[in-house]
Symmetry: C2
Subunit: 211 residues, 2 copies
Amino acid sequence: MTAPAARRGRPRSEDADERILQAAHELLLQRGYDRFAMDEAAVRAGVAKTTLYRRWPTKDHLLVALVAKIQDEVPVADTGDVRRDLVVYLTAVAGGLNRMRRVGRTAGDDPSAGVVAELVAAAARHPDVGEAVRALFARRNTLPLALLDRARERGELRADSSSAVLFDQLAGALYYRLLVTGEPIGPAYVAELVDQVLAGAGTATPNPERT
Amino acid sequence: MTAPAARRGRPRSEDADERILQAAHELLLQRGYDRFAMDEAAVRAGVAKTTLYRRWPTKDHLLVALVAKIQDEVPVADTGDVRRDLVVYLTAVAGGLNRMRRVGRTAGDDPSAGVVAELVAAAARHPDVGEAVRALFARRNTLPLALLDRARERGELRADSSSAVLFDQLAGALYYRLLVTGEPIGPAYVAELVDQVLAGAGTATPNPERT
């Protein structure tokens, strides 16, 4: 990640990581979570099993890293129009979640959450996986949270609003539909969600201290 | 559920269901999801294993029914003040989720989601469990959704707001924290969430067609 290393090209271990994650992604799309096998991922990536297991001791650890990589490929653009930026970003997030929902499944299967649900359960079951998942989201969410902070500085968001709560309202709605109710999270839903989150649902100021 | 049956007392099968769910609840609190055993639940409830398995073929099916029972014990009061009603209801929901988070765990364990996460994964893995979970939430959520519809009729909610989207923002934020980020969902958070959902985070009307 330092400038000299970048000039010399990436270290071999980083290349191996990249190859493993690429192979894991292809394998996940074909097999789904249940039938995803670590040994097959190593063969497909062309690395020794020991290399794979030293880096990621279980399937869950590897898949957390893969989800991190997929999330990092979703851009967070700041055009100065918070509504538009949120719709674009959340539509991309929802698209990624929908692909995860379909991973390893055939048409006609139930509209469930697949990989994300398995990771959520692994995070609850194994403290180190839980820590990795929480660190992943904490790191990743700094980008949309900074977007919201800048929108507030520009005066697009109420001075007394909380970026963290706002992001929970948005991301939470998508994950709740994905993981719990199974309702669709397409572009029309995302636009309606962003509009309602920004405009508010209430007619009265609910707390006299709020301006 | 009919009046004559109620006068004669509940049928035996309903008593058995009730005893099984009570025993399952106690067992879950002691053992957690991983070490919850169907056979032990049958012994503790004083029913034959065949009775238990005929009613609920797997641990996941039994635990969906148990979560339904626990949810049904959370009252949805309508006092005519939607902010207050939402804070009371969601604080109770969050309390239930926090107890689930701790189920079967000892102090010092990671702050993960436990039973709810396992059910979410089971719902994604097994189509019939998924169907049961989605039916459970669809049935249960009719109560808070009706509360929101009545508040709109009273003029407490914007005419152009959607109860479904509003509920996703509220419940979604709680489940997102529980299942993904591991952030706390205490009473102070619930109150802040409800205020921001009602007041909105934006300063401008994001869509000219909205009033």
